[in-house]
């Protein structure tokens, strides 16, 4: 018995020695490029698998390349998932090979009217609790919705006629009408916000099938995008001639011998303005404008400071510089604003 076992063992040992030593080494002329995030390997060596034994040569080439790729993958930092007995997993790096996206980058949407106002005034969003204590029912109820805290206003069997209202008016119908108007106004504002959201250059990237209007707009923008703002761009034979340059506020010149009546009226207006005792600068308007701008800057500065504090927590070395910098900025801004006022006067 024992002799047989020993013979078996010896036979097995001989077999194992006779097996060729399996190596994992692969010889290549040029090194492969690896992108392990995509499990990708790029071999730049010219393949030599032409001829009769193409399949077997391709297979051996594939085997060599796969061996190299697996060697790289086994070199990655590995751990055991789900405890000590789980499967061996390797941490893959980020994919390196750049591939085109499926959709364009998400565009930030422009702020709505309320958002602009809130930013100006420095109003921030308060987090509200989802449940409110209802005294009448003596329990926590939702703020709005199905079984809400104040009771559903639409189910009131009695509505008091307010002090200054007409006693013959139907208050229930009035409430319904007001609600409908509110909903309609909200919807209108929402659509207006969406309509305003169209930025000027929004649809101008080349996607292939564009409408005639979009193409026209794209050609216009392309024409004006030269260093000389499209002044010397040649036109196609049948393209209409360039419209006369409108220019900005400051580059608009009237023709020399134009409308004589308009010129006369303009000169008379000027003389009248010079002769009148009223000052040309409306002081109250200017002061109000200044106050509004200061408000906006204060709100922006407050918001930024608060944000910084929240980010850094206890550290205040940057905070020490913050208000000083803000003051400097405000002073400078005030100085800048006074200059246009001066120009208006002259």
């Amino acid at each position: 018995m024992a002799a047989l076992c020993v013979e078996e063992l010896l036979a097995r040992a001989e077999q194992r020695e006779a097996e060729p030593h399996r190596s994992v080494a692969v010889q290549k002329e040029l090194e492969l490029e690896f992108d392990l995030g995509n499990l990708l390997a790029l071999d730049r060596n010219p393949p030599r698998a032409a001829g009769a034994q193409r399949e077997s040569r391709l297979r051996s080439l594939a085997r060599d390349n796969t061996q190299l790729l697996v060697a790289q993958l086994w070199g990655l930092p590995a751990g055991r998932a789900e405890g000590a007995t789980g499967p061996l997993v390797a941490q893959l790096p980020e994919p390196f090979y750049r591939l085109p996206r499926e959709k364009p980058l998400p565009r930030p949407r422009p702020p709505t009217r309320w958002e602009q106002f809130a930013r100006l005034k420095g109003i921030r969003r308060r987090k509200r609790t989802s449940l409110v204590w209802d005294e009448a029912a003596k329990q926590w109820r939702r703020r709005w919705g199905y079984a809400r805290a104040g009771g559903d206003p639409a189910r009131d069997w009695l509505i008091e006629v307010p002090a200054g209202a007409d006693p013959n008016e139907d208050q229930f119908a009035k409430r319904l009408r007001d609600k409908r108007e509110k909903v309609a106004r909200n919807e209108f504002n929402r659509l207006r916000n969406i309509a305003r959201g169209a930025l000027p250059g929004r649809g101008l990237h080349p996607t292939g099938h564009q409408s005639r209007a979009e193409l026209g707009r794209a050609t216009q923008v392309a024409r004006v995008s030269t260093a000389s703002l499209g002044r010397f761009q040649p036109r196609l034979p049948k393209e209409p001639a360039a419209p006369p340059p409108r220019g900005g506020k400051k580059r608009r010149f009237e023709p020399l011998l134009g409308d004589l009546a308009a010129e006369r009226s303009r000169q008379l207006e000027l003389l009248r303005g010079l002769g009148s005792k009223k000052p040309p600068l409306d002081l109250t308007r200017a002061v109000n404008k200044q106050l509004r701008e200061e408000d906006a800057q204060a709100a922006a500065g407050k918001g930024k400071k608060r944000g910084q504090r929240g980010k850094r927590g206890r550290q205040r070395p940057g905070g020490g510089k913050g208000p000083a910098g803000g003051k400097g900025k405000k002073g400078g801004a005030r100085r800048q604003q006074q200059r246009p006022a001066g120009r208006k006067r002259s």
Binding site: A62, Q91, L92, R101, H205
Partner: protein, 308 residues
């Protein structure tokens, strides 16, 4: 446009989730592929589409009916399908006398065709012709491209990018090493592209890295490139643009050596080195006697200087 910015707002949460899944995002979903049969599709082409569908499941949709379109002439119907099923990759198979066993592989950007490459199938061996065990559906394949043509020729470069995009599967942070079962090998040689799929067997070797043995498993295709419709440079560049938010934040004041040493930089204020707090060594402390002699020595050279 966000789901909330649409003119017609979604009325249910499910509809809102559906729209949010399809809108442009910072990190995108895995690309889906549509596999379409053209007007005159023969057995080879149909089998090829079915096999590639099996490889790409569940990120592919196989259209059962024939669609009579010509992608190179008119791309509107492809774009319509892509928009309906939210797929950005497509594979269109057809057959006619002029272009036998034709396969058009392409991808979309913003639901418009970005790149399209027409390939002819010269030889095709299907999954069911090779009788051995296959790997489970949805395995992430290893991709290997061999041949310098894939780098030198512009069309081949785009084809390589297309094939990687097509077959790559979802992007995962970790991978089970024993689950690397399947490799797709593309060789560019003599104007043809040989695509072979092998099942990977990991055998014991002397060291930690296993020895690889390959077993031919899946569809094998011999392809030849026919027509191409590649995107213009600027459109391609636009599609490659990645959002800034995804770029890894560079840590300031840390630099790395060629050898892997990392150096840090500390910014200090100006220090008065004479008042530095160093280790006190009692032996080096100035004793009163030593101080006196030093003072004399210190003063005398000054004196001599003034005299001179």
């Amino acid at each position: 446009m966000e789901a909330l910015d649409r003119v017609v707002k979604p009325k249910t949460k499910r509809a809102k989730r559906f729209l949010e899944k399809r809108e442009p995002k910072l990190t995108e979903n895995t690309k889906n592929a549509i596999l379409i049969k053209g007007g005159n599709a023969n057995l080879t082409v149909t089998e090829t589409l079915k096999d590639i569908y099996a490889l790409k499941k569940p990120f592919a949709v196989l259209y059962k009916k024939k669609n009579i379109t010509r992608p190179f002439e008119d791309q509107t119907s492809l774009e319509f399908f892509s928009k309906k099923s939210d797929c950005s990759l497509f594979l269109f198979g057809s057959h006619n006398k002029k272009r036998p066993n034709n396969l058009i592989i392409g991808r979309m950007f913003d639901y418009h065709v970005l790149d399209m490459i027409e390939l002819g199938i010269e030889k095709f061996v299907s999954l069911k012709d090779i009788k051995n065990s296959k790997c489970p559906e949805g395995t992430k394949p290893m991709l290997i491209f061999a041949g310098d043509t894939f780098d030198l020729n512009e069309e081949y470069r785009r084809l390589k990018s297309l094939l990687i995009d097509f077959f790559r599967g979802p992007t995962v942070p970790t991978i089970r090493l024993a689950g690397l079962e399947y490799v797709l090998h593309f060789t560019a040689m003599d104007g043809k592209i040989y695509m072979r799929s092998y099942k990977v067997l990991l055998k014991k070797s002397g060291c930690k890295i296993p020895r690889i043995e390959l077993e031919e498993m899946g569809p094998s295709l011999d392809l030849v490139m026919r027509r191409t419709h590649l995107a213009s440079e600027d459109l391609y560049k636009l599609s490659l643009k990645q959002p800034k938010a995804l770029k890894p934040k560079k840590k300031k004041n840390i630099s790395h050596d060629v050898f892997g040493t990392s150096y840090g930089r500390i910014h200090m204020q100006k220090q008065d080195l004479s008042k530095l707090q160093t280790r006190k060594m009692k032996g080096l402390k100035k004793r009163p006697a030593a101080k006196m002699t030093e003072e004399d020595e210190g003063i005398s050279p000054k004196k001599s200087k003034s005299v001179l």
